[in-house]
């Protein structure tokens, strides 16, 4: 990875994909100066500026979208910096093609006060190509009992509220949060899982768990909570986002709520779109994630739900765990898999053409920004450069050279994937990726 100032760089022959740009789906040359897009022109025309001293980057027909945005990653900093730090996580994000990442609050301490929000925000320096956005906890210690000072947290810079990997099990807390946040138009994100039905569960409850004799986590644990949460939303009003939907039975519930006009949205992780519980047949702990990888029927339904806009966002599901937490007996291993670097490659390997449609690309570019009310970059002259350049054909291997996360718990370790981000530009910096 090489990072230089995004100054005097000419990107030649790139397929620009941005429905808000006049150059949408056209092959263009694009010039950068002082971190801004200074000129765009069709490949057959010459640029109207002097290109003396410009660094030429021949894109040779590669694609460009606005910078990718991850709606929910664990960086484990503060507290578990041996698994991931803000710096290593941002490197992993850059390598994966992301220019902005919203961080889940499940750190030690939890992101629940303005000083913790400030700790996250202080990482957004001029030297950082990736911008981190703190999501703050709904409850103290994410224990689901005492509300955090959410207005204070909004003023401190929190972009949304969630207990992250901890579901809001207390109905009254969820109700009050929906009510309390309404005047601020802030987004509440909740992981739908009934903690009683999921207790001691190790993987998706299905044929595979029966073969392995492992305690399953039924899809019902998710759908019950989706249904409950939608009822609470209908009663209280406000905005609710479901994180990491994994079960097909949750999808009609979300679709119906949307039809009924409720402000509900949902995301799915790239891991759940590319893997299933069958990947666990050799008890690979890298595939032990929460919510669990479900059946291939669920996986197909999740893709369909993206296509029909029941699901709004694809997130990375990035959850780093060190070797000491993973190279263990299956039931003792921690949940989680890294996902930032393999995000695009895994999705594009699984659904090559589908992913490149505008509506799909929006799921990790414009949609998460709109949900968190973050400014939408544009690929037009005069705009600050915030984009990702990617090669849908590039074959690469997931290994020490391509993974920058401090943790190596990838289900795709050693595998070849097709499709990769090759360069990103943001915050006045330009990175050419390995």
């Amino acid at each position: 990875m090489r990072i230089i100032p995004a100054n005097q760089i000419l990107i030649q022959n790139v397929l620009l994909i941005d429905p808000f740009s006049p150059w949408h789906r056209q092959y263009v040359n694009l010039a950068l100066e002082q971190g801004y897009i200074c000129q765009v022109s069709p490949v057959e025309q010459d640029l109207q500026i002097s290109l003396q001293n410009f660094r030429i980057f021949p894109a040779n027909g590669l694609s460009m979208t606005i910078g990718w945005f991850d709606l929910g990653a664990h960086f484990q900093d503060p507290g578990n910096e041996h698994k991931e730090t803000l710096t290593s996580g941002c490197q992993a994000a850059t390598q994966g093609g992301f220019t902005e990442v919203a961080l889940l609050p499940n750190t030690q301490p939890v992101i629940a006060h303005k000083q913790e929000v400030a700790y996250i925000l202080q990482h957004n320096q001029p030297s950082q190509i990736v911008k981190v956005h703190p999501l703050a906890a709904v409850t103290q210690d994410t224990a689901g009992k005492e509300l955090t000072e959410m207005i204070d947290l909004i003023h401190a810079g929190a972009v949304g509220f969630t207990d992250g990997s901890k579901p809001l099990w207390n109905t009254d807390i969820l109700l009050k949060t929906l009510q309390y946040l309404q005047p601020w138009d802030a987004l509440l994100l909740n992981r739908p899982e009934d903690t009683w039905l999921a207790q001691l569960g190790q993987m998706h409850e299905g044929i595979q768990s029966t073969f392995l004799g492992l305690k399953g986590i039924p899809a019902l644990a998710e759908t019950l909570m989706v249904e409950r949460d939608i009822n609470l939303l209908r009663y209280a009003g406000g905005k609710l986002h479901f994180t990491q939907i994994s079960a097909s039975d949750s999808l009609p519930l979300i679709a119906q709520a949307k039809q009924a006009g409720l402000s509900v949205s949902a995301d799915v992780s790239a891991l759940h779109l590319t893997l299933t519980d069958e990947n666990l047949h050799q008890l690979d702990t890298a595939c032990k994630i929460s919510p669990p990888l479900r059946s291939h029927i669920d996986r197909e339904a999740l893709w369909q739900a993206l296509a029909n806009h029941t699901l709004d966002v694809i997130c990375s599901g990035h959850h780093p765990q060190d070797e000491e937490s993973k190279n263990l007996e299956f039931d003792l291993a921690d949940f989680g898999a890294i996902g930032l670097e393999t995000f695009f490659g895994s999705l594009n390997t699984y659904a090559p053409q589908w992913l490149l449609e505008d509506a799909m690309l929006a799921k990790f570019t414009s949609a998460p920004r709109q949900l968190l009310r973050q400014p939408l970059p544009a690929l037009r002259e005069g705009e600050k450069a915030n984009f990702t350049l990617f090669d849908p054909q590039k074959i690469w291997t997931v290994n020490e050279q391509t993974i920058f996360s401090r943790s190596k718990n990838s289900p795709f370790w050693g595998q070849q994937l097709q499709g990769k981000a090759v360069a990103v530009c943001h915050n006045g910096l330009w990175a050419e990726l390995d």
């Binding site: 001691l200 029966t210 004799g213 399953g216």
Partner: protein, 310 residues
């Protein structure tokens, strides 16, 4: 056979080879001199992270009858979790030049974990709620001995199916050998998707006894239940326990099995356990012969590998 990690990955031919070999060893065990030199140069470690008396004893006897050098290691899984990892513990033992590991552990896949990461040949003596392959083999061997063959027989497995590694290994073994299998117990103790394995499901013990040729009654494993699955042992005994009167009322021969140790008065009444229907002690006897057969076949594999590399 390099390892014996589970029955699910074993083919019918191998199972039958184990049975033929076990038959030979059973003859040996009934001779005045019960020892053969087959494993003379081999050191076996019995590593038990969970309490076991009979399985460990059965393996140890099998190893000694085959002239292996035997070492035993017993520790509770929880104490190991706090200190040394499983992999370190096993590697330490292997560093002392142990050839084969017989391991029982509370985690699913623990035997596979060791087989994947060390050079030892591994026998799974029970991995959590997953498999207990030698128990599956000795149960089928005992049925074969009693009824002539396994194919076509109706086998009922009764009790806590969810937490029993014996249940899964039994299901795989009996199905591979062509038997019909039914599981029976309280609905909370039967995995939701168990029928996908090719078994039928019942919650009525009397009806299941009337259906089957063989009833394999499992031990109620309260220690492996971290969640309450039924209200009380009293109620379990009253509605799912088997008595001699129930067996006598069937008016047909039935083979009664139990992997031991029996909770007398809970899943089996004493008079049922001690009745002529019961082959519980034959199972124990066959256990040694079947484990000898497994060890012997694994040693053969080892010899072949050594011959190739020499």
């Amino acid at each position: 056979m390099k390892h014996l990690l589970g029955i699910q990955t074993l083919d019918k031919t191998t199972i039958e080879l184990i049975f033929e070999t076990a038959t030979e060893f059973k003859n040996v065990l009934n001779r005045p001199i019960k020892k053969v030199p087959s494993l003379r140069d081999i050191t076996v470690a019995n590593i038990f992270f969970e309490n076991s008396t009979r399985t460990r004893l059965s393996f140890e006897l099998a190893e000694k009858r085959l002239s292996a050098d035997v070492v035993n290691f017993t520790a509770s899984s929880s104490s190991v979790k706090k200190g040394e990892t499983l992999l370190d513990t096993v590697n330490n033992i292997l560093a002392m030049k142990v050839d084969m590991v017989v391991m029982r552990h509370a985690s699913v896949g623990a035997a596979q974990f060791i087989a994947d990461r060390t050079a030892a040949q591994v026998i799974n003596a029970g991995d959590g709620t997953h498999e207990h392959p030698t128990q599956g083999l000795l149960d089928a061997f005992s049925v074969r001995e009693k009824l002539g063959e396994v194919a076509g027989k109706k086998i009922a497995i009764i009790g806590d199916i969810m937490h029993s590694r014996v249940a899964l290994s039994n299901i795989f073994t009996f199905l591979k050998l062509g038997a019909e299998v039914r599981v029976c117990g309280p609905a909370t103790l039967i995995p939701r998707h168990i029928a996908a394995l090719g078994v039928s499901v019942s919650h009525q013990v009397q009806e299941t006894l009337a259906w089957c040729d063989v009833a394999n009654v499992l031990r109620i494993q309260l220690e492996r239940q971290q969640i309450k699955y039924f209200p009380s042992l009293r109620e379990y005994a009253a509605y799912f326990g088997i008595t001699k009167a129930m067996l006598d009322n069937l008016n047909k021969p039935i083979v009664l099995m139990h992997p031991g140790p029996v909770n007398r008065g809970i899943e089996l009444s004493s008079d049922a356990a001690d009745s002529p229907h019961s082959i519980i002690l034959d199972q124990v006897e066959n256990g040694v012969a079947v484990r000898m057969a497994v060890l012997y076949l694994m040693a053969q594999y080892r010899d072949k590998i050594l011959a190739v590399s020499a």
